[in-house]
Amino acid sequence: MNLLLSGFRVEFDGCPVVVGLDERVAAGEWLCVIGPNGAGKSSLLRGIAGLVPSSGTAQIGERHISDCTARETARLVAYVPQDPILPDDMSVYDYVMLGRNPYVHPFGRESSRDRDVVSRLVAELELAVYARRMLGTLSGGERQRVVVARALAQESPVLLLDEPTSALDIGHQQRALELVDSIRRERSITVVSAMHDLTLAGLYADRLLLLHQGVAVARGGARQVLRSETLAEFYGISARVIHEQDGTVVVVPQRMGGAS
């Protein structure tokens, strides 16, 4: 389903952190939000997920998020924070099952369909060996997959990922992003992620959105957004941007003061 934002605004104590954003993300599209620290990336994601008050409209398909209860929102949007809390003494299976909460009656128990969804995800994300393991015993890469599995258990058309790779080494970053990419193509899930690594952002996202002090200052494909003038202006860095022949855009930071 489409994610449509118009005049979307998030404020903290009267101080705007996302200002009048208009954006349309198509079903199955991956939009990556980039920008320096404090640009409003996380606030934007949290606003869409309904975790902080927002004004303007955020619409998924025909539904306005502001009209939805917490349970309804959770069926439309799955949100993965930058540092998810994984209780050490909860099993992988139980953790993934938490994703079914929006479908289970508050005072009821899971249906056989809920159990099917979770078992299938656990197998699909190659977590079956870990199903009974406690979260505290998992490695960083395994934890990331478990968190993605919980988000997918929500079966929502929109997936919001805040810095999905910040805790991973380069190999696991790539594997995690490949996983998200294959899943969104398979199920045509709309993905909006915030990312710091500009090269990876350009590599995986269909489009980039550069936020600066809560305002969208650049948007489009990697080639359009990742340019050394733009990065100098908004990140205050000096970086070389290399356009590879296959379309990959590589951002290489340079030493300050023109050292070579």
């Binding site: 975790l51 929102t73 299976y93 938490l98 197998a123 079956a128």
Partner: protein, 362 residues
């Protein structure tokens, strides 16, 4: 990725069975059986009355359609039924309530170190009940609804609200000990006010003190009738919320993103736990450590999911307090050791053990 192939079916079956209905029925049956066995043992042991082995027979004899020759005289039966039985039932209700409330507070505040005592709820409830005693107990004790549990509830609520407010102001979100320290402060304050009120009202001091030390000694069926409705309502509410309390383990933010109305769940759970605790305190006085020993024992044995910890704490708590009441009756007979002394004797070292285990993990 390294662990390619899909898992063999057998393995997956095993992992799914974690949450199946059949298993949880077994746990419930086991829990009820544990409580029944300890209740019969509790009714059988005591300084006066029939030989212990005759008591189960006599109890059987009373069941409909069953006739057993137990050899228990009417006078002996009166000791069992009018003195021991209400005491056992009251111990079960209070133990179940303190344990289920302890487990629920731990879940609602995401803090494994809290229980009705450490949060100040018990002291607040004690203060509320003391005030009700002082304000003319003679006149109020025959009211249709006894005001003592209600006054205890008001006191307990004020205490838990104060602890939560102070604890959050001083960083309970960053550290689990801030909430406990706030609870210690609130407990001291409530106890100080209680002492002050008592000094001003010398005539009720004896009455209140005998009650503070744990009043299971004088338990009657009237006490059981008084506390039962509160314990029933509170336990049902907490049992219904056990799955949601489990979702809270991932933190407020993520629980909200998963569709849980976090503030409402926390409010309802804390209200229900405080109501039940206050009523328990109003009939039994202060019995410490049950709310922390029992849930942690369940966790150590059967894992940390609140879906299991909450119901099983209820059963184990009932059995534990019935058992803890026995040495108090027998060891120092004919005088009695207050049950609060027995639970503190086991509870204090256990609490230190939990602190130590947590330190090692961190």
């Amino acid at each position: 990725m390294s662990t390619g192939r899909p898992e063999p079916v057998e393995r997956r079956k095993q992992s799914e069975s974690l949450a199946t209905p059949a298993r949880s029925v077994l746990w419930w049956v086991g829990g009820v059986a544990l409580v029944l066995i300890s209740a019969v043992v509790g009714a059988a042991i005591g300084p006066a009355g029939p030989a212990w082995w005759r008591v189960p027979l006599a109890l059987f004899d009373r069941l409909p359609l069953i006739g057993v020759e137990s050899g228990v005289t009417d006078a002996q039966w009166n000791i069992v039924w009018q003195i021991r039985a209400p005491r056992v039932v009251l111990a079960a209700l209070v133990g179940a309530m303190l344990s289920i409330a302890g487990a629920s507070y731990q879940g609602a505040f995401r803090n494994p170190l809290v229980d009705p005592y450490l949060l100040g709820v018990a002291a607040g409830a004690g203060l509320g009940a003391t005030v009700a005693f002082v304000l003319n107990r003679e006149a109020t004790q025959h009211w249709v609804i006894d005001p003592v549990p209600l006054a205890a509830f008001v006191g307990g609520l004020i205490a838990v609200a104060l602890t939560y407010a102070v604890g959050t102001a001083f960083g309970a979100n960053r550290s689990t000990t801030a909430l406990v320290l706030a609870g210690v402060a609130v407990t001291s304050l409530a106890t100080a006010i209680q002492t002050f009120v008592l000094q001003r009202n010398n005539d009720v001091v004896r009455q209140v003190y005998s009650w503070i030390l744990g009043r299971l000694t004088t338990a009657s069926w009237g006490d059981v009738r008084l506390v039962l409705p509160y314990v029933a309502v509170s336990s049902v509410v907490l049992l219904l919320h056990r799955r949601l309390i489990d979702v809270l383990r991932v933190g407020d933010d993520e629980a909200r993103a998963l569709g849980v109305n976090v503030d409402r769940v926390r409010l309802v759970v804390v209200l229900a736990a405080t109501l039940g605790t206050s009523a328990a305190v109003a009939v039994s006085g202060l019995i410490g450590f049950v709310g922390i020993i029992v849930p942690h024992t369940v966790r150590l044995l059967l894992g940390a999911s609140y879906r299991r910890v909450i119901p099983l704490s209820m059963f184990l708590g009932a059995a534990f307090l019935i058992a803890a009441d026995i040495p108090g009756r027998v060891l120092t007979s004919p005088s009695e050791t207050p049950i609060g002394v027995v639970t503190a004797f086991f509870g204090a070292p256990f609490f230190l053990l939990i602190l130590r285990l947590r330190d090692q993990r961190a």
